[in-house]
C-alpha cells in the first residue's frame, strides 16, 4: 500500500502529520507496537529535517506484509558531508530553529538507530533524499 504526504518549509506546526498517519496505519495492521514506535520516531525526525533545513518536500510510504519503506525527498541546500551529518550533536540548524526545540543534531543518528536500513543521498544546492526501511519481524 502506498501513501504520500507533502512537507512544507518552515511549517513546524504540522511536523508529525505524516508519522502520526503512518502510526495509525501500522496499528491497524497489527504491527508490533515497539516496531511501530521505531518507524514513527525515525519518520518524525526525517519530517522535521525536511521542514527545518529544506524548502519542502515529499514523504512516500510503501507498506507490504514484511516491511515499511519510507522516502523523504526534499528540495533544499543538500548535505555537503553526509558522514559528518551522521554524527550525534552535529547540527547546521539556524538559531531560530534551535529556539523552537529542534536542531539538536540528533536527527540522522536517531533515524539510524531506529531503522533497519538507511540510505541518505544528497546533492548540494538541489536536495536530500532519505530512504529508510523497517522490517516488521
Amino acid at each position: 500500500m502506498h501513501q504520500e504526504y507533502t512537507v512544507v518549509e518552515g511549517d513546524f506546526v504540522n511536523a508529525g502529520k505524516a508519522s502520526s498517519s503512518v502510526k495509525k496505519t501500522l496499528k491497524q495492521l497489527n504491527v508490533n507496537p515497539q516496531v511501530v514506535k521505531r518507524v514513527v520516531v525515525a519518520l518524525y525526525e526525517a519530517e522535521v529535517n525536511a521542514i527545518a533545513h529544506a524548502y519542502g518536500g515529499k514523504v512516500l510510504v510503501d507498506i507490504d506484509a514484511d516491511k515499511i519503506k519510507m522516502v523523504v525527498a526534499d528540495k533544499g541546500p543538500g548535505i555537503p558531508d553526509i558522514a559528518l551529518a551522521m554524527q550525534e550533536g552535529y547540527s547546521t540548524a539556524r538559531p531560530e530553529v534551535r529556539d523552537m526545540g529542534f536542531g539538536a543534531g540528533m536527527g540522522l543518528p536517531n533515524m539510524q538507530k531506529n531503522v533497519d536500513k538507511l540510505n541518505v543521498t544528497s546533492e548540494v544546492g538541489v536536495g536530500t533524499t532519505v530512504e529508510m526501511e523497517v522490517n516488521f519481524n
Binding site: 500500500m1 508529525g16 508519522s19 502520526s20 502510526k23 495509525k24 496505519t25 496499528k27 491497524q28 495492521l29 497489527n30 504491527v31 507496537p33 515497539q34 511501530v36 514506535k37 514513527v40 520516531v41 518524525y44 507498506i63 507490504d64 506484509a65 516488521f136
Partner: protein, 454 residues
C-alpha cells in the same frame, strides 16, 4: 474473548437518537434497528454516552443497593468525592453517622490508602528506572483506553493496586485480626463512575477483586439525604470515630492530586478523555521528552467530575478543597491524620500492591494476518474516496471512516450510506422502497409517521 462492561443500553428506553454514538471517544457505538449498541471490544466504560443520553437509557451495572445488609460486618468503602456532594450544612460527621444508621457496620474512605499508594508507586519507580514515563494506574477508564488504543504504552502503566484495593485489603486484614470470619465481612465500594465498576468486576492485572459488591454513589447519596431529612433537625446522631484524612489524601482524586505529591522532575496531570488522547498521541510519537510521570484522568476535574458525582464538579471540588484546608490546619496544629493508622499495615500493603503487567488488547487491528489487513486497508481507502466525508451518521456509524471500516469488515452494508442510496436510485439500480427499507434497518420504521402539516 468477552470483555466485561459496566455500561449497558436498555433497549426499551433507547430512542436511537445517536448522541452517544457521536460523542464516544473510542467510536464504540453503532445504531441498528433504531437502537444504539455498544461494541464490547472498543468500550472503555468512560461514560460519556451516559452523560449525553436524553432518555436515561444507559445505565451502570451496579449491585442491589441493600445487599450490604446481609453482612454483619459490612464495610462502606467510600470515595472522598462522596462527601463533596453534600451542602455545607451537612457535615462530614453527619454523613458518617447516617451511614452507620443506614446499616453499615464500618465506614472507611478509600483515600485513607492514598499515601500508601503513593509510596508503592515510588517504590515501583525506583525499581524500574528504565521505564519512563510511568503512567498512574489510578483511573480505570484510562488503563483501558491505553490497552485498546495505545498498546505500545501499556508497559508504561504502573501495575500497582489503587487506593480502593489497598483500603479494602486493609479493612479485611484489620477485621480478620479482630477475629471476624471472612463470610461475615462484606466489602462494598461506593462507586462514583462506571469504569470503577468494571475495574472491580473484571480487574486488569489480577484474577479477582476482593471487593464483594459495588453500590451506585447516587443511590447512596439519595439514601443518606433522605435519612437526614427523615430523622429531622432535632435528631441526635451518634458520635462517630471517623477517619480524619490528611489534606493530601482528600485531594488525591482531584486533578493534580497525584502529581502534586510526586517527586518526578517533569510530570503532567491531564484530565478529560480528549485531552488525554491528544497527549498520548504525541507521547506515542516520542514528541514529548523527559516526562517521568503522568497522572491521566478520564473526567474533567478528576473524580469531582465523575459520572455519578451528582453536584457540579466545581462545587464538589471546592468543598473538597475546603475540607483539605481544615485538615491541613489541624495538621499544622500537630494533630496526626487518622489515615496514619494504616501505617501499621504499610509494609504488608506495599508488598502486596503489585499487579501483573497491563496487557495491550488493541481494538485497531483489522486482521491478525498482516497481508489480509493490508488488503482490507486498501479497500477502506478506496471506499473512503467514494463516501461523502461529512460524517452525517445516517449510516449508523459515527464517521465515514468508521463506516468504511465496518463495511470492509462485514459489519455494515454499503447501502446504509444515504448518498450512495440516492446515487443507486438515480441510476435506477435501487427502488425507492428498497432505499426506504435500508433506512429503516438502521433507524427503525417509526421515525416519521403520517402527513406533516406546518
Amino acid at each position: 474473548m468477552a470483555f466485561y462492561h459496566a455500561l449497558q443500553i436498555e433497549e426499551t428506553r433507547c430512542i436511537g437518537c445517536s448522541r452517544c454514538m457521536k460523542i464516544c471517544p473510542t467510536e464504540a457505538i453503532r445504531i441498528g434497528g433504531g437502537k444504539a449498541a455498544i461494541q464490547e471490544h472498543r468500550c472503555i466504560d468512560c461514560g460519556r454516552c451516559y452523560e449525553v443520553c436524553p432518555a436515561q437509557a444507559i445505565s451502570i451495572k451496579d449491585d442491589d443497593f441493600s445487599i450490604f445488609r446481609k453482612y454483619p460486618h459490612s464495610v462502606a468503602l467510600l470515595p472522598s468525592v462522596f462527601l463533596g456532594q453534600f451542602p455545607d450544612d451537612i457535615s462530614v460527621s453527619k454523613v458518617y453517622a447516617s451511614l452507620y444508621e443506614l446499616g453499615f457496620a464500618h465506614v472507611m474512605e478509600v483515600e485513607s490508602a492514598a499515601i500508601i499508594y503513593k509510596e508503592a508507586k515510588e517504590k515501583y519507580a525506583r525499581e524500574h528506572p528504565d521505564i519512563r514515563p510511568l503512567i498512574s494506574s489510578f483511573c480505570p477508564a484510562i488503563v483501558r483506553l491505553i490497552q485498546i488504543k495505545y498498546p505500545s504504552l501499556a508497559e508504561n502503566i504502573m501495575p500497582i493496586k489503587v487506593p480502593l484495593d489497598l483500603s479494602a485489603m486493609y479493612a479485611l486484614e484489620e477485621l480478620t485480626r479482630r477475629g471476624v470470619p471472612r463470610e461475615q465481612i462484606g466489602l462494598f465500594y461506593i462507586t462514583p463512575c462506571a469504569a470503577k465498576v468494571a475495574a472491580v468486576k473484571a480487574p486488569v492485572g489480577e484474577e479477582k477483586s476482593i471487593i464483594d459488591g459495588v453500590i451506585n454513589m447516587n443511590m447512596l447519596y439519595n439514601g443518606v439525604y433522605k435519612h437526614i431529612k427523615d430523622v429531622g433537625k432535632s435528631h441526635q446522631f451518634p458520635p462517630v470515630t471517623r477517619h480524619r484524612l490528611s489534606a493530601d489524601a482528600i485531594l488525591s482524586t482531584l486533578t493534580n492530586g497525584e502529581r502534586r505529591l510526586c517527586s518526578a522532575k517533569r510530570s503532567y496531570a491531564i484530565d478529560g478523555i480528549q485531552n488525554v488522547m491528544d497527549f498520548l498521541d504525541k507521547l506515542e510519537n516520542d514528541e514529548v521528552e523527559g516526562v517521568e510521570f503522568l497522572e491521566l484522568r478520564a473526567c474533567d476535574q478528576g473524580c469531582a467530575g465523575a459520572l455519578l458525582s451528582c453536584d457540579n464538579r466545581f462545587l464538589c471540588g471546592e468543598r473538597m478543597y475546603a475540607r483539605a484546608r481544615r485538615a491541613a490546619e489541624r495538621e499544622r496544629n500537630g494533630e496526626m491524620p487518622r489515615d496514619r493508622e494504616m501505617d501499621q499495615y504499610k509494609d504488608y500493603l506495599i508488598d502486596n500492591s503489585q499487579l501483573d503487567e497491563v496487557q495491550p488488547r488493541s481494538m485497531m487491528v483489522l486482521d491478525e494476518n498482516i497481508s489480509k489487513a493490508l488488503e482490507k486497508m486498501e479497500r477502506i481507502e478506496r471506499l473512503k474516496t467514494h463516501l461523502p466525508q461529512i460524517d452525517c451518521g445516517v449510516c449508523g456509524a459515527p464517521t465515514c471512516e468508521a463506516f468504511a471500516t465496518d463495511v470492509v469488515c462485514d459489519k455494515a452494508h454499503l447501502q446504509q450510506c444515504v448518498f450512495y442510496r440516492l446515487h443507486l436510485e438515480a441510476q435506477g439500480k435501487m427502488t425507492l422502497n428498497e432505499g426506504r427499507s435500508n433506512m429503516y434497518s438502521v433507524w427503525g420504521d417509526d421515525r416519521i409517521s403520517g402527513e406533516i402539516d406546518v
